[in-house]
């Protein structure tokens, strides 16, 4: 069927597209993963919203929340989104030194936030709110703890990425890797805005 063969090679020049959507595989996968994560946090936030006022033992939310302190740590986390943007922008300009610097600063800001969370958890625990104390305690620590784990994983990824870039071990498109971690980082920040509003700012 030679005619079929030639028929097809006429179109062989169209083959240049590597992805049918124009998005790279990695980026599309990251977006899907983040979509899935929305539902994960949706479930945890719903559980918290259901249980936040249900306190039979231990302190009530309004008795222990230190809103000024959490506002400051939230601000730190939000600023890390800015530095992440700067890291992505430096990576796109192929400026390795600046990229590494901004990645480090982002990781440090994230670590500061985690430090604040550890402090906050310890303070709450001292004031009598344990994980098993009440429905409020279980759901508060689960929700904010899950978020904290996400930030920590982000910090590990940022530091690892910095190490890998320094050693020149990265394969493929460096700017895209930075951007992918950036997507994850911004997602974690946005989720925190929602958590901060619903958990801390709206009185239960």
């Amino acid at each position: 069927m030679a005619d079929i063969a030639t028929h097809d090679t006429d179109h062989a020049t169209d083959h240049g597209h590597h992805s049918s959507t124009g998005l790279s595989n990695n980026k599309l996968a990251m977006w899907l993963f983040l979509g899935s994560e929305c539902l994960l946090f949706g479930g945890l936030i719903s559980t918290y919203m259901l249980y936040r006022g249900r306190v039979q033992n231990g302190p009530h939310p309004s008795q222990i929340y230190d809103i000024p302190f959490t506002s400051v740590s939230s601000f730190v986390l939000l600023m890390s989104s800015l530095t992440m943007v700067l890291a992505v922008s430096s990576a796109q300009r192929k400026d390795d030194n600046k990229t590494n610097l901004w990645l480090l600063i982002t990781a440090l800001l994230g670590a500061t936030f985690i430090g604040g969370q550890v402090y906050e958890f310890t303070a709450f625990y001292r004031e009598g709110l344990g994980f098993t104390t009440s429905l409020f305690g279980s759901s508060f620590y689960s929700l904010t703890g899950f978020h904290g784990v996400h930030v920590s994983i982000g910090v590990i990824m940022l530091l690892s990425l910095r190490g890998i870039i320094k050693k020149g071990k990265i394969t493929g498109d460096k700017a895209e890797v930075v951007e992918l971690i950036g997507l994850y980082w911004h997602f974690v920040d946005i989720v925190w805005i929602i958590i901060f509003t619903l958990v801390y700012l709206i009185p239960s």
Partner: protein
């Protein structure tokens, strides 16, 4: 092909030259090298080839099908006669819990994943999935999850709370053994496997279609799998939350389901069914996809109303997210919720009905070839319709309140799941066996297989309608003669019929196994295009070459393969054959691409999955084990990221005219 894909030789694949960038052993992390030339068992353990992974998924899922089937037989033996003594009440609870869990999570979903993995890249004209290593990781995580779930039988008793594991009933007070812990962790890990798999397949379908294959030229099987993966991406995280909460409660003393602390017993039900109802469509849509390939092929007609089949599948998926509370009509949701969910549930019957009419009209006026695959497909249409109709009776809330927790429900979901999904999968076995293994399953044994399964399934599940309407409750481990009723509606008679039916059904499945063994021993090769098929997976050898296609096909039509074989007369619309499958194959081989690189094997998916399993076991057996698991996970994650991707950009390769390959860089 015994060696890995990077050592293709011209004799094995005419027109191919050995890749200039063939893989060379390079260190990663200084400790573990990337496997290079795997043979024997290593070829399977470290493979990232979507076809091998698909076959492994199929084998493991089939083993679990047998396990789940044996569990079902125990249930039927116990209920065959009054005051059954085969199982204790406790063992009976474990048996039905594990039967359902095994069939849904360890047979149905992975078997669909087997078909999806194998055929999805072939149907869209791709050489592999988007993330081959993640694909292997999905498989090994599923195996880990399945082993953990079933290990509970030997480590203090299996889970005993039903597949929906309602909390607080599944809390430590009512379910003190470790069974539920194993169940939670096993499902959590199997869930991660499905999530990774679904992201992988969505990216594959959206990004890696052959040139010219627009979404509306995709085969219906691919479409249905795509819808299923979207359902999984957005429903799995919800069950993940539920499982995490239950795990925190059982293992770390959290209070989520502790009613004495003021917990809401409906929380679990909502979280579970927000996942659980989309899950129902996760189970059935692959079956719909398979028969949407089989019915046109064996009716010798294109699928009637392709866009309607596609969009009704998509709308089933969409509406499927808004009907979960119909599982909870008896829980006191209040009239508004019940009315809304009742209407939504009835609405979902519309796209389903559309599909059934499309299938009927596909067969209408066709030259039907009653092969085994076709028989199973027709079986699905009929049996699923029966199950769908009893399903509509559940949508009517007042009627459902009567039926809840009776055998009528059991009858309904076995008609849709066994009659629907399982028949779809068996149809797929017969249709695609020659493609996967290069040999035809025996049609005569296939006929025995089919008829025994149809008769057995109707004998088993048909009487359950009567039993349920008479009031026999689900999950009761005995029934007594004194309360069995009289005459036509006597429990005893119908329970016995149902139990006998389950053995007829088992003999039917046995015929399939005999057929497989016989076919494997038969040296006779299948023809290249035994069914005069329509879609791209047939545009390659059987079994397909490691790189799937000698050159990436350019798609001009829905049912591209068929349109390459036949031309349509402009005026009469008669189809004239201009080529055979063999002719097309020769043309492909003559114009084969050169320098195709395929992804190399990897140790990390297997190691990472083992790490996750150990980490999970740490929840039950203590923190030291958890730490070991976490270290393995961390080590293999870094190994994974730093793994040398030689030949460079390994994961995807598309041909070009200038002889050089252009790739997108895989990083993930």
């Amino acid at each position: 092909m015994s060696s890995n894909e990077l050592t293709l030789t011209p004799s094995q694949s005419p027109g191919l030259v050995k890749s200039p960038l063939s893989i060379s052993p390079s260190g990663s992390l200084g400790a573990v090298r990337r496997p290079v030339n795997t043979t024997g068992w290593r070829e399977w353990l470290f493979t990232v080839d979507h076809k091998k992974i698909g076959i492994m998924y199929g084998c493991v899922a089939f083993v679990f099908f047998i396990v789940g089937g044996v569990e079902a037989l125990f249930i039927r033996l116990q209920l065959a006669l009054p005051d059954g003594r085969i199982l204790s009440a406790d063992k009976y609870n474990q048996m039905f819990t594990m039967h359902a869990t095994t069939m849904i999570f360890l047979f149905a979903m992975p078997m669909a994943a087997a078909f999806a993995n194998y055929f999805l890249p072939l149907q869209i004209g791709a050489r592999d999935v988007a993330f081959p290593r993640l694909n292997a990781l999905s498989f090994w995580l599923f195996v880990s999850g399945g082993l953990i779930l079933n290990a509970s039988w030997f480590l203090g008793g299996a889970a005993d709370g039903g597949w929906f594991m309602y909390a607080p009933n599944s809390g430590p007070v009512f379910s003190p053994s470790n069974g539920v812990d194993f169940w939670v962790l096993g499902l959590q890990i199997a869930g991660i496997a499905s999530l990774i798999g679904s992201i992988n397949l969505i990216v594959t379908v959206l990004n890696m279609r052959a040139p010219g294959m627009t979404l509306m030229k995709m085969p219906v099987f691919t479409w249905m799998i795509l819808v299923v993966q979207f359902l999984l991406v957005f429903s799995l995280p919800v069950i993940t939350v539920a499982l995490v909460l239950l795990m925190f409660q059982r293992s770390y003393g959290a209070t989520f389901f502790d009613v004495s602390q003021g917990a809401d017993p409906l929380l679990w039900q909502h979280l579970f069914w927000i996942f659980g109802h989309p899950e129902v469509y996760v189970l059935i849509l692959p079956g719909f996809g398979i028969i949407s390939e089989v019915l046109p092929t064996f009716s010798r007609k294109p699928l009637f109303g392709y866009p309607f089949v596609v969009f009704s599948g998509a709308s089933i998926g969409l509406v499927g997210f808004g009907v979960w509370a119909h599982h909870m009509f008896a829980s006191g949701l209040g009239p508004v919720s019940v009315a809304v969910f009742s209407m939504a549930t009835m609405a979902i019957a519309i796209p389903t009905g559309v599909k059934i009419f499309n299938w009927l009209l596909t067969m209408w006026g066709g030259k039907i070839w009653y092969s085994a695959a076709m028989k199973f497909a027709i079986g699905l249409v009929i049996l699923f319709t029966i199950g769908g109709l009893s399903g509509v009776t559940h949508a009517v809330a007042p009627s459902d309140t009567q039926q809840t927790d009776t055998y009528y429900i059991v009858a309904h979901f076995h008609y849709v799941l066994f009659g629907g999904m399982v028949f779809g999968l068996f149809s797929g076995f017969y249709y695609w066996w020659p493609k996967v293994f290069g040999k035809m399953l025996n049609e005569k044994l296939g006929s025995w297989n089919f008829w025994l399964m149809v008769i057995g399934m109707n004998l088993t599940f048909g009487p359950m309608h009567i039993l349920g309407l008479q009031g026999q409750p689900r999950r009761m481990y005995v029934w007594t003669e004194a309360r069995a009723g009289e005459g036509f509606f006597n429990f005893g008679f119908w329970n016995l019929v149902s139990s006998i039916g389950s053995f007829v059904l088992s003999v039917g499945v046995l015929f399939f196994i005999i057929n497989v063994i016989k076919t494997t021993r038969n040296p006779e090769r299948a023809p290249l295009d035994p069914w005069d098929a329509r879609t791209l997976e047939w545009l390659t050898t059987s079994p397909p070459k490691v790189h799937n296609f000698d050159r990436i096909p350019v798609v001009h039509h829905l049912d591209e393969f068929f349109h390459r074989k036949y031309v349509e007369d402009e005026t009469t619309h008669a189809m004239t054959q201009i080529a055979t499958g063999e002719d097309l194959m020769r043309a492909e081989e003559a114009a084969a691409d050169t320098g195709i690189h395929m992804p190399g094997p990897s140790y990390w998916p297997l190691l990472l999955a083992i790490g996750v399993a150990v980490l999970g076991m740490g929840v039950i057996y203590g923190t030291p084990i958890m730490v070991v698991g976490a270290l393995v996970v961390l080590f293999s994650s870094f190994g994974w990221v730093l793994e040398p991707s030689v030949p460079e950009p390994i994961d995807f390769d598309s041909p070009s005219t200038d002889g050089h390959t252009k790739e997108i860089a895989p990083l993930g």
